[in-house]
């Protein structure tokens, strides 16, 4: 997931253009969420970290040196916040007297030499998930497929989809819900019921 911004768009991002910032958020939101969720395993915490990361990106927009820098900044920030959260949770578990030795596994995660490789792995993992998602979406009826694709793969919001396909917001919402249910059922049929 490399952010593709032309020179003009990148300049606009740097000076705080809302439209370009939204495009960047749309591109980063889902892969960052998946990346962070893999660490923290909690929906609310992952959502908080993604929101905070995108906010920090806004605050630091003028310091970004290019699209790749934006991407790396976002992943590093999200990763560090996820690790902080895990450390905090571990401290709460062991108590204030708990030694850092108890956090050995977490300390390994902080090893900077691992970070670049980890980000590459995150990108591959996300692309694999998207490939699997595409395969599942392909099995949906055409209308659900279109709406699901726009919502979850292209990252459009419900209002924009409703406008694009010429239907009510509630219809888009219901179609998204129905598509999600069918995909969950597809995953269950692959023998993952217990896992889910």
């Amino acid at each position: 997931m490399i952010i593709h911004l032309n020179e003009l768009s990148f300049e606009k991002f740097g000076v705080g253009d809302e439209k370009v910032y939204k495009i960047v958020c749309d591109l980063l939101e889902v892969p960052l969420y998946v990346f962070v969720f893999d660490y923290v395993k909690r929906k609310d915490a992952a959502e908080d970290i993604v929101a905070e990361t995108l906010f920090k990106l806004w605050v630091n927009r003028a310091k970004m040196k290019g699209p790749l820098h934006i991407q790396r900044f976002a992943y590093f920030t999200a990763r560090n916040m996820a690790i902080d959260l895990l450390k905090q949770a571990a401290h709460e578990k062991t108590g204030p007297a708990g030694s850092m030795g108890d956090l050995g596994q977490l300390e390994d995660l902080i090893d900077e030499t691992r970070t670049t490789r980890e980000l590459e792995e995150a990108e591959i993992s996300f692309r694999l998930a998207m490939k699997e998602m595409e395969a599942l979406v392909h099995q949906l009826p055409p209308k659900l497929r279109q709406v699901f694709h726009l919502r979850f793969i292209d990252g459009m919001n419900v209002a924009d989809i409703a406008r694009l396909v010429g239907t009510a917001h509630s219809t888009v919402y219901n179609q998204c819900r129905a598509a999600c249910e069918k995909i969950r059922k597809g995953l269950e049929e692959k023998g993952l019921k217990d896992f889910l």
């Binding site: 993992s125 490939k131 979850f152």
Partner: protein, 78 residues
């Protein structure tokens, strides 16, 4: 991740999962796995049962509206 354009790797791993690797692709994947212990370690992690499906489940459960709400609240507070 070493010595192979990453662009090829997701495709090879995806085909491995679907058992649709051609012989040349199987060899390419094997070469990549043999190049570095980290490659093999990642491969084992990502092909573990339920791993990719768990990522899809996370995407389906994610509330983008909540994220946008939290983001806007932070921006208004700044």
């Amino acid at each position: 991740m070493t010595n192979m354009p990453n662009a090829d790797i997701p495709d090879l791993i995806d085909k491995y999962r679907r058992q649709t690797l051609a012989e040349a692709e199987r060899e390419a994947l094997q070469r990549w796995l043999n190049e570095h212990e980290d490659n093999r370690s990642y491969f084992e992690k990502i092909t573990a049962p339920g791993k990719i499906e768990g990522m899809i489940k996370a995407i389906l459960d994610m509330d983008r509206g909540a994220i946008r709400g939290k983001l806007e609240a932070r921006r208004r507070g700044k």
